[in-house]
Protein backbone atom coordinates (compact mmCIF):
# COMPACT_ATOMS: atom_id res chain seq x y z
CA UNK A 1 0.00 0.00 0.00
CA UNK A 2 2.67 2.46 1.06
CA UNK A 3 4.83 1.17 -1.75
CA UNK A 4 2.16 1.81 -4.36
CA UNK A 5 1.59 5.31 -3.04
CA UNK A 6 5.30 6.06 -3.14
CA UNK A 7 5.47 4.89 -6.73
CA UNK A 8 2.66 7.21 -7.78
CA UNK A 9 4.27 10.22 -6.14
CA UNK A 10 7.56 9.41 -7.79
CA UNK A 11 5.87 9.30 -11.20
CA UNK A 12 4.15 12.62 -10.59
CA UNK A 13 7.35 14.42 -9.66
CA UNK A 14 10.11 12.89 -11.71
CA UNK A 15 12.46 15.79 -11.22
CA UNK A 16 13.59 14.88 -7.69
CA UNK A 17 17.29 15.53 -7.68
CA UNK A 18 19.50 12.90 -6.11
CA UNK A 19 22.70 14.22 -4.69
CA UNK A 20 25.49 11.80 -4.02
CA UNK A 21 27.23 12.22 -0.68
CA UNK A 22 30.63 13.90 -0.96
CA UNK A 23 30.40 13.73 -4.77
CA UNK A 24 33.73 14.26 -6.43
CA UNK A 25 35.72 15.05 -3.29
CA UNK A 26 39.42 14.38 -3.51
CA UNK A 27 42.49 14.78 -1.41
CA UNK A 28 46.16 14.37 -2.18
CA UNK A 29 48.82 13.90 0.45
CA UNK A 30 52.37 12.65 0.10
CA UNK A 31 52.06 8.98 -0.80
CA UNK A 32 48.26 8.78 -0.48
CA UNK A 33 45.47 9.93 -2.74
CA UNK A 34 41.82 9.85 -1.67
CA UNK A 35 38.92 10.10 -4.07
CA UNK A 36 35.20 9.61 -3.69
CA UNK A 37 34.24 7.14 -6.40
CA UNK A 38 31.27 7.64 -8.73
CA UNK A 39 27.95 5.97 -7.80
CA UNK A 40 27.68 2.25 -8.47
CA UNK A 41 24.97 -0.42 -8.36
CA UNK A 42 25.23 -2.64 -5.30
CA UNK A 43 23.32 -5.52 -3.83
CA UNK A 44 23.54 -7.38 -0.59
CA UNK A 45 23.16 -11.03 -1.47
CA UNK A 46 22.34 -13.95 0.81
CA UNK A 47 22.53 -17.32 -0.90
CA UNK A 48 22.38 -20.83 0.58
CA UNK A 49 24.93 -23.37 -0.61
CA UNK A 50 22.50 -25.05 -3.02
CA UNK A 51 21.75 -21.86 -4.98
CA UNK A 52 25.29 -20.48 -5.35
CA UNK A 53 25.81 -21.94 -8.83
CA UNK A 54 22.52 -20.54 -10.16
CA UNK A 55 23.23 -17.06 -8.80
CA UNK A 56 26.80 -17.10 -10.09
CA UNK A 57 25.46 -17.88 -13.55
CA UNK A 58 22.82 -15.17 -13.43
CA UNK A 59 25.23 -12.51 -12.21
CA UNK A 60 27.97 -13.49 -14.65
CA UNK A 61 30.55 -13.58 -11.88
CA UNK A 62 31.38 -16.67 -9.84
CA UNK A 63 30.57 -16.01 -6.18
CA UNK A 64 33.79 -16.75 -4.27
CA UNK A 65 33.55 -19.42 -1.54
CA UNK A 66 36.85 -18.70 0.20
CA UNK A 67 36.86 -16.26 3.13
CA UNK A 68 38.32 -12.80 2.50
CA UNK A 69 38.29 -13.12 -1.29
CA UNK A 70 36.51 -11.44 -4.18
CA UNK A 71 35.86 -12.22 -7.82
CA UNK A 72 35.56 -9.71 -10.60
CA UNK A 73 34.35 -9.86 -14.18
CA UNK A 74 33.42 -7.12 -16.64
CA UNK A 75 33.06 -4.36 -14.08
CA UNK A 76 31.11 -6.47 -11.62
CA UNK A 77 32.73 -7.54 -8.36
CA UNK A 78 31.45 -10.07 -5.84
CA UNK A 79 32.95 -9.76 -2.37
CA UNK A 80 32.77 -12.61 0.15
CA UNK A 81 31.41 -11.17 3.39
CA UNK A 82 30.26 -14.31 5.19
CA UNK A 83 29.65 -18.02 4.54
CA UNK A 84 26.35 -17.24 2.77
CA UNK A 85 26.68 -13.51 2.22
CA UNK A 86 28.12 -11.43 -0.60
CA UNK A 87 28.32 -7.80 -1.62
CA UNK A 88 27.99 -7.37 -5.38
CA UNK A 89 29.16 -4.07 -6.87
CA UNK A 90 28.51 -3.17 -10.49
CA UNK A 91 30.37 -0.15 -11.84
CA UNK A 92 29.05 -0.33 -15.39
CA UNK A 93 25.53 0.82 -14.54
CA UNK A 94 23.89 -2.58 -15.10
CA UNK A 95 21.56 -3.55 -12.28
CA UNK A 96 22.54 -6.84 -10.60
CA UNK A 97 19.16 -6.85 -8.87
CA UNK A 98 17.44 -7.33 -12.22
CA UNK A 99 19.72 -10.29 -12.99
CA UNK A 100 18.90 -11.91 -9.65
CA UNK A 101 15.16 -11.38 -10.12
CA UNK A 102 15.11 -14.00 -12.89
CA UNK A 103 16.61 -16.70 -10.68
CA UNK A 104 14.10 -19.14 -9.19
CA UNK A 105 16.63 -20.73 -6.81
CA UNK A 106 16.26 -19.62 -3.19
CA UNK A 107 18.13 -16.41 -2.41
CA UNK A 108 17.70 -12.93 -1.00
CA UNK A 109 18.98 -9.92 -2.93
CA UNK A 110 18.56 -6.43 -1.51
CA UNK A 111 19.47 -3.31 -3.44
CA UNK A 112 21.82 -1.12 -1.43
CA UNK A 113 23.21 1.07 -4.22
CA UNK A 114 22.47 4.31 -2.42
CA UNK A 115 23.26 3.06 1.06
CA UNK A 116 26.98 2.92 0.40
CA UNK A 117 29.60 5.43 -0.63
CA UNK A 118 32.90 4.21 -2.02
CA UNK A 119 36.21 5.96 -1.41
CA UNK A 120 39.37 4.97 -3.19
CA UNK A 121 42.61 5.12 -1.24
CA UNK A 122 45.67 4.78 -3.42
CA UNK A 123 49.40 5.39 -3.36
CA UNK A 124 52.41 3.76 -1.71
CA UNK A 125 51.24 4.76 1.79
CA UNK A 126 47.61 3.67 1.24
CA UNK A 127 47.85 0.63 3.52
CA UNK A 128 49.34 2.61 6.40
CA UNK A 129 46.69 5.31 6.00
CA UNK A 130 43.92 2.71 6.35
CA UNK A 131 45.78 0.92 9.13
CA UNK A 132 45.59 4.03 11.26
CA UNK A 133 41.97 3.09 11.94
CA UNK A 134 41.70 -0.50 10.77
CA UNK A 135 43.21 -3.24 12.96
CA UNK A 136 43.60 -5.84 10.20
CA UNK A 137 46.94 -6.96 8.81
CA UNK A 138 47.10 -5.28 5.39
CA UNK A 139 50.48 -6.64 4.30
CA UNK A 140 50.42 -8.23 0.85
CA UNK A 141 50.87 -11.70 2.37
CA UNK A 142 47.82 -11.43 4.60
CA UNK A 143 45.68 -9.16 2.43
CA UNK A 144 46.65 -9.72 -1.23
CA UNK A 145 45.22 -7.98 -4.29
CA UNK A 146 41.47 -8.78 -4.62
CA UNK A 147 41.21 -9.63 -0.93
CA UNK A 148 38.03 -8.23 0.58
CA UNK A 149 36.65 -8.10 4.06
CA UNK A 150 34.13 -6.41 6.23
CA UNK A 151 36.01 -4.72 9.04
CA UNK A 152 36.15 -1.49 11.00
CA UNK A 153 37.75 1.89 10.45
CA UNK A 154 37.87 4.02 13.55
CA UNK A 155 34.35 3.87 14.93
CA UNK A 156 32.48 2.63 11.86
CA UNK A 157 32.08 -0.54 9.89
CA UNK A 158 33.51 -0.61 6.38
CA UNK A 159 33.98 -3.11 3.60
CA UNK A 160 37.56 -3.07 2.40
CA UNK A 161 38.66 -4.32 -1.02
CA UNK A 162 42.24 -4.29 -2.25
CA UNK A 163 42.03 -3.33 -5.92
CA UNK A 164 45.80 -3.19 -6.53
CA UNK A 165 49.00 -3.56 -4.55
CA UNK A 166 48.79 0.08 -3.53
CA UNK A 167 45.08 0.80 -3.93
CA UNK A 168 42.01 0.07 -1.82
CA UNK A 169 38.30 0.60 -2.17
CA UNK A 170 36.60 1.55 1.08
CA UNK A 171 32.83 1.04 1.13
CA UNK A 172 31.00 2.73 3.98
CA UNK A 173 27.45 3.71 4.79
CA UNK A 174 26.36 7.00 3.28
CA UNK A 175 25.64 8.64 6.62
CA UNK A 176 29.11 7.68 7.83
CA UNK A 177 30.89 8.83 4.67
CA UNK A 178 31.74 12.26 6.04
CA UNK A 179 33.38 10.67 9.09
CA UNK A 180 35.25 8.13 6.97
CA UNK A 181 36.53 10.70 4.49
CA UNK A 182 37.66 13.04 7.25
CA UNK A 183 39.27 10.17 9.14
CA UNK A 184 41.13 9.03 6.04
CA UNK A 185 42.19 12.61 5.25
CA UNK A 186 43.76 12.94 8.69
CA UNK A 187 45.28 9.47 8.36
CA UNK A 188 46.71 10.33 4.93
CA UNK A 189 48.54 13.29 6.43
CA UNK A 190 49.91 11.11 9.23
CA UNK A 191 50.88 8.26 6.89
CA UNK A 192 52.88 10.67 4.76
CA UNK A 193 54.84 11.98 7.73
Amino acid sequence: MAKAAAKKTAAATPSAERRAALAGQELSATGVKLAVLPPAERISLRVPEASVAALSKALGVILPRKPKTSASKAGRTALWLGPDEWLVIDETGKDPLADCAKVTALHSAVGISHRNVAISVSGPAAASAINSGCPQDLSLDAFPVAAASRTILGKVEIVLLRTAEDAFRVECWRSFSDYVFTFLSEAAGDAAA
Binding site: P67, K68, L81, P83, P135, S149
Partner: protein, 98 residues
Protein backbone atom coordinates in the same frame (compact mmCIF):
# COMPACT_ATOMS: atom_id res chain seq x y z
CA UNK B 1 45.10 -6.43 21.21
CA UNK B 2 43.79 -9.98 21.34
CA UNK B 3 43.63 -11.99 18.16
CA UNK B 4 40.60 -14.25 17.98
CA UNK B 5 40.33 -17.06 15.48
CA UNK B 6 37.03 -16.96 13.60
CA UNK B 7 36.09 -20.50 12.54
CA UNK B 8 34.18 -19.14 9.53
CA UNK B 9 36.87 -16.73 8.29
CA UNK B 10 39.44 -19.41 9.11
CA UNK B 11 41.96 -16.95 10.46
CA UNK B 12 42.84 -14.84 13.44
CA UNK B 13 41.26 -11.41 13.50
CA UNK B 14 41.64 -8.44 15.84
CA UNK B 15 39.31 -8.41 18.84
CA UNK B 16 37.75 -5.08 17.79
CA UNK B 17 35.78 -6.96 15.14
CA UNK B 18 34.14 -9.23 17.72
CA UNK B 19 31.37 -9.03 20.29
CA UNK B 20 30.78 -11.31 23.23
CA UNK B 21 27.32 -12.88 23.25
CA UNK B 22 27.11 -14.60 26.62
CA UNK B 23 27.47 -18.16 27.76
CA UNK B 24 27.23 -20.96 25.21
CA UNK B 25 25.41 -24.30 25.25
CA UNK B 26 22.31 -23.05 27.03
CA UNK B 27 19.52 -25.06 25.48
CA UNK B 28 16.07 -23.51 25.35
CA UNK B 29 13.39 -25.92 26.49
CA UNK B 30 11.21 -27.28 23.70
CA UNK B 31 8.22 -26.73 25.96
CA UNK B 32 9.02 -23.27 27.27
CA UNK B 33 5.41 -22.49 28.26
CA UNK B 34 5.33 -25.57 30.46
CA UNK B 35 8.49 -24.66 32.37
CA UNK B 36 8.16 -24.02 36.09
CA UNK B 37 9.16 -20.55 37.28
CA UNK B 38 12.27 -21.97 38.95
CA UNK B 39 13.40 -23.77 35.82
CA UNK B 40 12.74 -20.72 33.71
CA UNK B 41 14.74 -18.57 36.07
CA UNK B 42 17.65 -21.01 35.81
CA UNK B 43 17.48 -20.99 32.01
CA UNK B 44 16.97 -17.26 31.64
CA UNK B 45 19.02 -15.60 34.37
CA UNK B 46 21.44 -17.97 36.05
CA UNK B 47 24.88 -18.24 34.48
CA UNK B 48 27.84 -20.26 35.66
CA UNK B 49 30.41 -17.42 35.77
CA UNK B 50 33.32 -19.76 36.52
CA UNK B 51 36.84 -18.87 37.46
CA UNK B 52 38.80 -20.65 34.75
CA UNK B 53 37.50 -22.29 31.58
CA UNK B 54 34.31 -20.84 30.19
CA UNK B 55 32.35 -21.71 27.04
CA UNK B 56 31.01 -18.58 25.39
CA UNK B 57 29.19 -17.43 22.31
CA UNK B 58 30.98 -14.79 20.31
CA UNK B 59 29.97 -12.96 17.20
CA UNK B 60 32.29 -11.80 14.43
CA UNK B 61 30.19 -8.67 14.28
CA UNK B 62 32.33 -6.55 11.96
CA UNK B 63 33.55 -9.44 9.84
CA UNK B 64 31.51 -12.37 8.60
CA UNK B 65 28.82 -11.47 11.21
CA UNK B 66 28.45 -15.13 12.24
CA UNK B 67 28.00 -16.44 15.78
CA UNK B 68 30.46 -19.07 16.94
CA UNK B 69 31.54 -20.62 20.22
CA UNK B 70 34.79 -20.03 22.04
CA UNK B 71 36.53 -21.58 25.00
CA UNK B 72 38.23 -18.95 27.09
CA UNK B 73 40.16 -18.92 30.33
CA UNK B 74 38.74 -16.19 32.54
CA UNK B 75 41.95 -16.00 34.58
CA UNK B 76 44.46 -15.46 31.78
CA UNK B 77 41.88 -14.11 29.27
CA UNK B 78 43.38 -16.50 26.72
CA UNK B 79 41.24 -18.04 24.00
CA UNK B 80 41.88 -21.78 24.12
CA UNK B 81 39.90 -22.65 21.00
CA UNK B 82 36.96 -21.58 18.87
CA UNK B 83 34.49 -23.72 16.96
CA UNK B 84 31.44 -23.22 14.78
CA UNK B 85 27.98 -22.69 16.23
CA UNK B 86 26.03 -25.92 16.50
CA UNK B 87 29.09 -28.10 17.01
CA UNK B 88 29.18 -30.08 20.26
CA UNK B 89 31.15 -28.93 23.27
CA UNK B 90 34.75 -30.06 22.68
CA UNK B 91 35.78 -32.88 24.98
CA UNK B 92 39.53 -32.34 24.74
CA UNK B 93 40.92 -28.84 24.97
CA UNK B 94 44.32 -28.21 23.39
CA UNK B 95 47.00 -27.26 25.89
CA UNK B 96 44.80 -27.75 28.95
CA UNK B 97 45.64 -30.38 31.57
CA UNK B 98 42.92 -32.78 32.77
Amino acid sequence: MLLIRCPYCEEERPELEFRNAGEAHIARSANIAGESDDDFEKFFFIRSNPKGIIYERWRHMHGCARFFNAVRDTISDKFIMTYKAGEPKPVKLPGVAK
